[in-house]
């Protein structure tokens, strides 16, 4: 029983990491940049959702509101920050690290502004459906309708996004713009607009991650909540484990990370919660540097 519960906890946490990882991969696949501010954007989207819930009262309205808000904000960031970055800082020794530093700065700015507007105290979003575990033969599983919902959402997102990328013209444009922007331009693709779209999609995915991270816990969230730092790191690690280029890899990476951490916490020590992701990342990168699904092309940025 404990085994099953550990597994289930891991899968649930993992699926939320997977959502975050999907956001990272979306940005990477469309612009070849890692957006360290992703969790900050997810946090901001959660606040958007909160505002929606406070006014309208329904989580099901809050979800799309958060997604749209997240998408718009992400698009704005790409339009302003990223394009400025390309213009001013794409050569010289700083070129490789400039996007990293800029997105980190953005993370700090978002956090500060959130605290200024909404304050630093805990706010609450209540889950839309029950988070009480299913019962089987009298014992309660650590798996509830809510957790099932999270899994379903992840699966649906994965399928929809994969179809988008692999089967549609827009997806082709996105992939071409990321792999070879010049060739894409010469083929008539509006590369700049496409990259913005990639960020918008990532913003929406991040919003879903942020909302579910909140309601899956006790529903409380705040700018300093350790949950979001963890979401940032775990989401990124999950993306890397999966091989930064693949959406499926992101999901598998997330699940793998979640389950592994869960077992480590249960069977080794619960104090390792914060250091476990790091160690798992090191081990995975050591054994298989290209990630679960990644292609062996060398870990260049």
């Amino acid at each position: 029983m404990q085994l099953l519960n550990t597994l289930l906890i891991g899968i649930t946490a993992g699926s939320i990491y997977a959502l975050m990882a999907i956001a990272f991969v979306l940005v990477w696949r469309s612009t070849r940049v890692v957006n360290f501010a992703q969790a900050g954007m997810a946090l901001l989207s959660t606040y958007f959702g909160y505002e929606a819930v406070s006014r309208i009262g329904s989580f099901w309205v809050a979800l799309p509101v958060a997604m749209i808000g997240g998408a718009l904000f992400a698009a704005l960031v790409e339009l302003i920050l990223m394009r400025l970055l390309v213009k001013h800082a794409s050569s010289g020794p700083i070129a490789g690290v400039a996007p990293i530093i800029a997105t980190l700065g953005l993370l700090g700015v978002i956090r500060s502004v959130i605290s200024m507007i909404w304050g630093g105290q805990d706010l609450r979003i209540v889950a839309p459906i029950s988070n009480n575990g299913f019962t089987i033969n009298g014992s309660t599983l650590v798996f509830s309708p809510l957790k099932l919902l999270v899994l379903v959402v992840v699966a649906v997102l994965l399928i929809l996004l994969t179809i988008l990328f692999q089967k549609t013209n827009l997806g082709l444009a996105l992939r071409a713009s990321a792999h070879a922007p010049e060739i894409a331009r010469l083929s008539g693709v509006r590369v700049d607009s496409v990259r913005t779209l990639g960020w918008a999609l990532a913003g929406a995915a991040g919003a879903v991650a942020g909302l579910f991270q909140t309601v899956n816990g006790n529903g409380n969230f705040s700018p300093d909540a350790i949950d979001f730092s963890l979401l940032l790191v775990s989401g990124f690690i999950a993306a890397v484990i999966g091989g930064l280029d693949s959406l499926l890899g992101a999901v598998l990476g997330g699940l793998f990370l979640g389950v592994t951490i869960s077992f480590v916490l249960m069977y080794i020590s619960s104090g390792l919660f914060f250091i476990a992701p790091f160690i798992i990342l090191l081990i995975v990168l050591f054994i298989r540097p290209q990630g679960i699904i990644g292609v062996k092309a060398g870990r260049r940025a």
């Binding site: 360290f36 530093i101 700065g105 700090g108």
Partner: protein, 327 residues
């Protein structure tokens, strides 16, 4: 040059008030820490978001040795450097295959994970942390020599020594190897440089220096605890390095001063505006992060480098116009 700086600081510490002396000590700590980032990121091209964690390693090593074995302070600091350097070597070895965002993300994970380990082991003091007491200033310096002045002297001396060491390292063959590897790793390898070893070396040295900074930070605060080394610290260090000019050692003092000055300035600004509490507490963070973005966008190589480049451009235009006159 360094001796001159030392003399200047000696006089300064005599005339300024306690708060400034304390801030001076903190600035010295930041100078050391930022220099370690410049070495690693600016020269060797490896981004680390985990230097806060390496500082923590140094700080804890120093504190534990002091408490458990009551070693003389000098040895504690040496231990801090060694402990952090070992950590850096391990991290560097793991990181040698990574680059860019992968490395950044890995060190980010470390920055979040490592300090929390302190809660695991009793000897590390848990959440409240350990006391780190460097002792009183020697009586030889007179009755009026305050604790904070003592801190400042130790930190400033350490800073001067570190800067001297780092400067020589950067100008040596090691420094050249780092820069070569940063620019084009394949070309560097073809030129006979063992880039992997060079990268790990950079990490080791950078970590050791960060460890020293960590121990000194512990000295000024008086305690070592996980909360003294949050993720924000690692980010601040990177910010300071970018503000100083990530490829130039000369600008280090700029970044350090800005990092210490920001909370004060933010405080003043917030009070002038008469804003709410939530604004005042968050303004420093906002300014620091905002500065980071602006700097990396518009002054990516730092003010010192920007100035040098502008001078060079002027000189080039001057000579070319001179040439035109000759025709």
């Amino acid at each position: 040059m360094f001796i001159l700086g030392g003399v200047v600081l000696y006089f300064l510490s005599g005339v300024v008030d306690e708060l400034r002396v304390y801030q001076g000590a903190t600035i010295a700590v930041y100078v050391i820490a930022i220099a370690s980032i410049i070495l690693l990121t600016g020269y060797s091209g490896q981004v680390s978001l985990g230097h806060g964690a390496l500082m923590a390693v140094g700080a804890y090593a120093a504190a534990v040795l002091r408490i458990e074995f009551n070693l003389p302070i000098i040895l504690c600091f040496v231990a801090a450097v060694l402990a952090a350097a070992i950590g850096g070597a391990l991290l560097g070895a793991a990181a040698a295959r990574l680059s860019g965002p992968y490395l950044a993300g890995t060190t980010l994970a470390l920055a979040i994970g490592l300090p929390s380990l302190a809660n695991q082991f009793a000897v590390l003091g848990g959440e409240q942390g350990l006391l780190f007491d460097v002792g009183f200033p020697p009586l030889a310096l007179g009755e009026e020599f305050t604790q904070y002045k003592w801190f400042f002297w130790i930190a400033a001396l350490a800073a001067l020594i570190s800067m001297w060491v780092i400067r020589n390292l950067l100008n040596s063959a090691y420094g050249r190897a780092w820069r070569a590897g940063r620019g084009n790793e394949v070309a560097a390898q073809l030129a006979g440089i063992n880039t992997a070893r060079s990268k790990v070396l950079a990490f080791t040295i950078s970590a050791g220096i960060a460890g020293l900074a960590g121990a000194l930070l512990a000295m000024t605060i008086g305690t070592v605890s996980p909360s003294a080394f949050p993720l924000a610290l690692s980010f601040s260090l990177l910010t300071g390095a970018v503000l100083s000019g990530i490829t130039t050692l000369g600008g280090v003092i700029i970044g350090a001063v800005v990092l210490v000055a920001i909370p004060e300035i933010a405080d003043v600004v917030a009070h002038r505006l008469g804003s709410s509490e939530s604004v005042t507490t968050n303004l420093p963070g906002l300014i620091v992060s905002g500065l980071l973005i602006l700097t990396v966008l518009f002054v990516p190589n730092g003010p010192v480098e920007q100035h040098r480049a502008r001078k060079a451009k002027h000189a080039a235009q001057h000579t070319s116009s001179k040439k035109k006159d000759k025709h």
